[in-house]
């Protein structure tokens, strides 16, 4: 115990004369970041970023809304095409009822 006290006292009197570079701390963190990014693949980094974002309710809500908009958009485009096709069929059916030539063509 005594030795510990002595050691503490001795350490508290110890002064370091070596000058610390101005951006020492920033450089250390930059080196750590560079080391980490080299060791992890692009996929890992992307996955982490995306997983992190999904924990944010705003991001999750935006993704669901986007999905809904895309679904409705696809439904709209398909409905337009389907309606146009059925419209042409209905037009043809109407014309068949007033066109004796088309009528004869189909009935004979």
């Amino acid at each position: 115990m005594n030795t510990d006290k002595n050691l503490k006292q001795l350490l508290s009197t110890w002064e370091v004369d070596v000058p610390i570079p101005r951006r020492f701390q920033a450089d250390v963190w930059a080196k750590i970041a560079a080391q980490e990014s080299c060791s992890r693949s692009l996929w890992d980094r992307l996955r982490d970023a995306v997983s992190f974002d999904f924990y944010r309710p705003q991001f999750a809500a935006a993704v669901v809304t986007l999905g809904l908009m895309l679904g409705i958009g696809a439904g709209y485009v398909n409905a337009q095409n389907s309606n146009a096709m059925v419209g042409r069929q209905l037009e043809a059916r109407y014309m068949q009822t007033i066109n004796p030539l088309a009528h004869a063509g189909h009935s004979s």
Partner: protein, 155 residues
Amino acid sequence: MKRAALVLLITLAVAVAGYFVFYEMATRPTRCMMAHQDCGMAWLRNEYHLTDAQFDKVMKMHDDYRPTCERMCQRIAVANEKLNALIASSHTVTPEIDATLKEWATLQNECRMAMLAHVYAVSAEMNPEDGQRYVKMATAQIVTPGMAHANLLAH
């Protein structure tokens, strides 16, 4: 990652539901028309924005025109058969084929005239813009060269 998968799954479900609900709603009117017994007239009413009064008049015109149309249809069918038989039984253009072809053409013109008169009468009952659009649509099929000829000759 589990949460991301859950959100993506919900997104997919919502997108699919959105697609089907919208598609169902947007195509319902045309599907109803298609299922209608007189779907051609139902289409005419919807496409040319006919009011109840306009539709009643057009429907009456249509019913009045129907016997004329059917009579002409029968005459055309008979003329087709006659012409086909003559063409099949000959290797050259005989005076009889020539005369039958002329009759056939005259009959076709009669049909076109009757149809055109009906189209004009129907268009007169519509709003001016719709009437113009209707005449354009119908006459395109009356005056288009080759209209129904391929069908007629094939039969």
